[in-house]
């Protein structure tokens, strides 16, 4: 029978906190940048012109149809060869994970925008608003409300995807866990603690999403 012993973990606490800080920092960065990429490509996808539509569609499909781990490795090892620019593991990770998330955010945002009654756009246009003004003042505020649960869900996936950066030796929570596990020879306790840490952070978030979905279902 295996003898569980969590007490030694205390001596690694700073390592874990550092890892946690990197994980949370990465999440904030790739959620924000992912939303920007998603919004820009969603608007391009809805453009009247062919070229922006084609660019947006290519971006979305390339990133949705390749595994995120492959993208991560490609940005770190292949992109520098192609472009001749050295890229740090952190930059490669942020780039890959933001663009990956952005391709999913993009479809959520586009879906939210097209779900708004065309009469709203007509009313705005009839009042003399430009398409940009109508989008900003009339369509997006209504669409965003509908998108929030789906965007939150995707952001939770973004959070979990940060664990992949450990393959590029970025010192996130999982990477620091690996360090602690090798050092202590007790992977069972270390990786269990790592899993619990992710869970404790994410569980309240999913509860908020579920609450929001309920509220939305009753509001319209």
């Amino acid at each position: 029978m295996y003898q569980w012993d969590f007490s030694f973990l205390w001596s690694y606490r700073w390592l874990f906190f550092q890892g946690l800080g990197v994980t949370v920092g990465f999440t904030v960065a790739i959620v924000v940048l992912g939303l920007v990429a998603g919004l820009v490509s969603a608007l391009a996808n809805l453009s009247r012109f062919g070229l922006p539509r084609w660019l947006a569609l290519s971006y979305i499909e390339v990133f949705r149809c390749t595994p995120v781990l492959v993208q991560l490795v490609w940005f770190y090892y292949a992109l520098p060869v192609l472009s001749g620019i050295e890229i740090s593991a952190v930059s490669a990770s942020i780039l890959a994970l933001s663009l990956y998330g952005g391709s999913f955010y993009s479809e959520i945002i586009r879906g939210g925008i097209v779900s708004i009654d065309p009469g709203q756009n007509e009313a705005a246009a009839a009042l003399g608003m430009t398409p940009g003004q109508a989008m900003r003042r009339i369509i997006l505020p209504q669409a965003l409300k509908r998108m929030v649960p789906a965007l939150m869900n995707q952001s939770i996936i973004q959070f979990k995807n940060t664990s992949l950066v450990s393959v590029l030796a970025v010192p996130d929570l999982l990477y620091q866990g690996q360090v602690a596990a090798h050092d202590s020879y007790r992977p069972l306790e270390v990786y269990s603690a790592v899993a619990v840490a992710y869970f404790v952070l994410l569980f309240p978030l999913t509860a908020i999403v579920r609450q929001g979905e309920k509220k939305l279902a009753t509001s319209d």
């Binding site: 009654d117 009469g119 709203q120 007509e122 009313a123 705005a124 246009a125 009839a126 009042l127 003399g128 608003m129 430009t130 398409p131 003004q133 003042r137 009339i138 505020p141 209504q142 409300k145």
Partner: protein
């Protein structure tokens, strides 16, 4: 053709794909007059109205409202997004299904375009919006969201919203068709008041009695052409064309509501 007219439509053509919806429409509306547009469903009334404020782009002809003119011929360049927006800012439109902005209060709906489009200071826009909402009888509803208003109240907010841009003309597309019968009167009353104040209006309506009462001229359309046009009373009481007679008789048979637009 007629420089005195407020609205001047010349040789207007519109098609959706291969479906020709408007064939060579000519129309002038004198300042301060009311033109009623009637005709069977699918005859192109809404499309004509939407061509007047260029919500849809015609394939040919010329559209003038006030001083703004656009021509739509094969060799002329289509107006740009900003030009179109400026043009539409001078025409008010009221829709069958209101199309109020659900995320804004009644006051917010009315203030929105003056602030966003005309860059009016908020305080000034607010004063004007409050006055307009009072004018349409909704002084006590200014802070309500559209979801809490009745159909008649929504449509009156929509009229105030259009008036807030101080348009040169007002276009009404079946403004009362989506309303419960008991709410029609309050909207027609506001429209009649506007007409009495000298607003230039084009109204698409199935309220024949109201058209007879309020409109100066009446246009009967069918299959994308103007079949008959003349003084409203004359066309309604003694239509010349067989098609107009048939359409109007259908109304009498169906027992259209009596002419009771409240004062």
């Amino acid at each position: 053709m007629d420089p005195q007219a407020k609205i001047e439509i010349t040789a207007l053509r519109k098609q959706f794909g291969s479906l020709v919806v408007l064939k060579d429409i000519n129309l002038t509306v004198a300042p301060g007059s009311v033109v009623a547009l009637i005709g069977p469903s699918g005859s192109g009334k809404s499309t004509l109205l939407r061509c007047i404020n260029l919500l849809v782009t015609p394939e040919g002809g010329r559209v003038r409202v006030g001083k703004d003119v656009f021509s739509f011929d094969a060799d002329t360049k289509l107006p740009g997004v900003r030009q179109l927006a400026q043009f539409r800012a001078n025409t008010g439109m009221v829709f069958q299904h209101f199309n109020l902005f659900p995320h804004m209060t009644a006051l917010g709906n009315v203030m929105e375009a003056p602030v966003t489009v005309r860059r009016k200071p908020k305080a000034e826009a607010r004063q004007h919006a409050l006055a307009l909402l009072a004018k349409v009888g909704l002084a006590d509803k200014v802070n309500e969201y559209p979801s809490r208003l009745s159909g008649g109240q929504k449509q009156r907010v929509a009229i105030a919203r259009a008036l807030a841009m101080e348009p040169e003309v007002m276009l009404f597309d079946e403004a009362t068709s989506a309303l419960d019968p008991e709410l029609v009167g309050e909207v027609l009353a506001v429209m009649q008041q506007l007409a009495a104040e000298g607003m230039t209006m084009v109204i698409v309506t199935h309220e024949i009695a109201f058209a007879r009462e309020v409109a100066d001229r009446l246009i009967f359309m069918r299959d994308g052409v103007v079949v008959e046009e003349g003084p409203a009373r004359q066309v309604i009481d003694s239509p010349r064309e067989a098609a107009t007679q048939a359409f109007l008789s259908h109304f009498h048979r169906a027992g259209a509501p009596a002419a009771t637009p409240p004062a």
